[in-house]
């Protein structure tokens, strides 16, 4: 026995097809829109003060002059303290970073150029040559211990 299609069922099938079609098109449009601007993840942690990965230090970063613009070289002040807030002196800081969504590193090789006292250090030679999500990774060594921390910046 074969089932005889009733007109209502046919219409429902067609309706479903159309919904699927519309959904596919909407999805495609959304995907194009997403690709276009490649926005950073919504839940990106933009804090400028953080614990290092293993919790050895608390690190705060601040640009020496605001706003941070795409293009020119700029400097940052990095403040390193112990988790209970005592300034860490005689630290050496090395800088790395890049754009996770584009798979490339920093366009320059920034370096620590001065220890300013009270746990403050100057990093020079930072440049961002593209808008979007950048990572700034600091590796901090002091008192024979080292730890690192990654900051997210969105331009």
């Amino acid at each position: 026995m074969t089932s005889v299609p009733v007109p209502g069922a046919q219409e429902a099938k067609m309706k479903k097809l159309i919904y699927v079609l519309v959904a596919v098109v909407a999805l495609a449009a959304a995907f194009v829109g997403w690709r276009m601007m490649a926005p950073p993840p919504d839940d990106l942690d933009l804090a400028r003060s953080k614990q290092t990965q293993a919790g050895m230090f608390t690190v705060a970063i601040a640009p020496e002059s605001e706003p941070v613009r795409q293009g020119p070289l700029h400097s940052w002040i990095v403040t390193v303290t112990t988790p209970d807030g005592a300034p860490v002196e005689d630290a050496t800081i090395s800088v790395d970073g890049g754009m996770p969504q584009h798979g490339h590193g920093l366009p320059t090789a920034p370096a620590m150029t001065a220890a300013l006292g009270e746990g403050r250090y100057r990093i020079e030679g930072v440049r961002f040559n593209m808008g979007g999500w950048w990572e700034l990774k600091l590796a901090i060594a002091a008192d024979g211990r080292s730890d690192d921390v990654t900051f997210n910046l969105v331009l």
Binding site: V25, P107, A109
Partner: protein, 416 residues
């Protein structure tokens, strides 16, 4: 009714599709990016502390004269303007430059060049004045030698030179053809000079570069149709009349900022990030391999005329570019400086050695993203339709100057 339902569905789908592709309006994010590309967003001309006459009009006037002077070449036939032709956006429209001989690379346009921290396709000069000292002694460009060049300036421009730089040193008694870079006999003659004599020659030579740099700082980017559009967008106005772009141009602009990701590198009001990228441009058969930035790092560090050298007018602290440049790594291999795209439609052929003849082929190159001859290409490729190709090119054409004139030469606002 079934057919009606179907038509409605298809119409709805088409509408959605059109919403995604037909660029009737810019999204908020797109409008923000458009504003950053506008000429109105051009920052003040960056100061050049390594050149104390960078913004001296008398130095610029002398530099302009030197720029057009054919006598500063081996056979009196070549000036900077032979290749950097003011009526052609300061370039020459050929694949590889021709001076005394044929160069391995294409002449670069000079519009807005003073905003760029690095000079040459590979950035082997860290200032405009250090750059200018290259072509005069390059055997395939001017083919000159240092002592003859300096003497020529002393003879032809004594007053103008001394008004800017003070008294010319005594050059009498120096051998005729003498240079640290020239033929064997020129180099031998250079080696025979005393340190003091070499210093005097180099001082005048570096000042020639500083005067030319002062002139080049006046070659500023000019208003384009795109800038009219971008200004309206930035101000939150609806671009109308002259400021409006066609549907096709808008579609190209959206592609440029979106799926084609051109704006990743061609960004800011000059459409360049001033950085070096390997974009998989093919090598030129018959020419020696060109490693671009990978070979330039050692050259800029060894250049006696760099920002850190004895002829620079500043302290090392001010030489951020060279101090913090990336010195090694795979990313430097065959990486070349991102060119500005202002006026690009009017100056084929393209790329560092004129490898690509037309904009159509440029766009196809980016869509297909071929492997690089050496190193790794940064280009990922994208899906390109015939309409997309037309749109991108239509957009690039909106970057032509409004009045069809050559680049504007005039004093740009300075940063102090």
């Amino acid at each position: 009714m079934r057919p009606r339902l179907l038509t409605t569905g298809v119409a709805l789908a088409a509408l959605l599709l059109a919403g995604a592709c037909k660029p009737s309006n810019l999204s908020e994010g797109e409008a923000r990016v458009v504003a950053t590309l506008s000429l109105a967003a051009l920052p003040l001309l960056p100061a050049d502390p390594s050149n104390r006459v960078a913004d001296d009009p008398a130095a610029a006037a002398l530099g302009e004269a030197l720029f057009f002077d054919h006598d500063l070449s081996a056979d009196g036939s070549v000036s900077c303007a032979s290749c950097h032709q003011p009526t052609r956006r300061f370039q020459d429209g050929i694949a590889r430059a021709i001076g005394i001989g044929e160069a391995d690379r294409r002449t670069m346009p000079l519009e807005g060049v003073a905003w760029s921290p690095w000079q040459f396709w590979d950035g082997r000069a860290d200032s405009l004045w250090a750059q200018a000292l290259g072509p005069w002694e390059n055997p395939v460009e001017h083919g000159g030698n240092r002592v003859a060049l300096v003497r020529q300036v002393a003879n032809a421009y004594r007053d103008e030179y001394e008004a800017v730089f003070g008294p010319l040193p005594d050059l009498t008694g120096l051998p005729e053809d003498t240079s640290p870079l020239g033929s064997e006999s020129e180099r031998a003659a250079w080696a025979g000079l005393t340190d003091d004599e070499r210093g005097r020659v180099d001082r005048v030579y570096s000042n020639m570069g500083k005067a030319v740099a002062a002139f080049e700082r006046t070659i500023a980017p000019v208003m384009t149709r795109f800038d009219r559009f971008a200004e309206a967008v930035a101000a939150g106005r609806r671009p109308e009349g002259e400021a409006a772009l066609s549907d096709l141009e808008l579609e190209g602009l959206k592609l440029f900022m979106g799926e084609a990701s051109c704006v990743n590198c061609h960004n800011g009001p000059r459409f360049t990030d001033d950085h070096f990228h390997n974009t998989g441009v093919p090598a030129v058969p018959g020419l020696p391999p060109d490693r671009g930035r990978a070979d330039a790092v050692a050259k800029v560090l060894a250049d006696p005329f760099n920002c850190l050298g004895a002829f620079s007018d500043t302290t090392p602290e001010q030489c951020g570019e060279i101090r913090f440049m990336v010195r090694d790594g795979e990313a430097l291999e065959r990486a070349f400086k991102t060119p500005s795209l202002r006026g690009v439609a009017g100056r084929a052929p393209y790329m560092h050695a004129g490898q690509i003849a037309t904009l159509e082929e440029v766009v196809d190159h980016y869509a297909s993203a071929p492997e690089a001859p050496s190193g790794r290409t940064a280009i990922e490729g994208f899906v390109l339709t015939d309409r997309g190709r037309m749109a991108l090119i239509a957009f690039l054409n909106t970057l032509e100057p409004m009045d069809g004139k050559a680049s504007h030469v005039g004093q740009a606002p300075q940063e102090n």
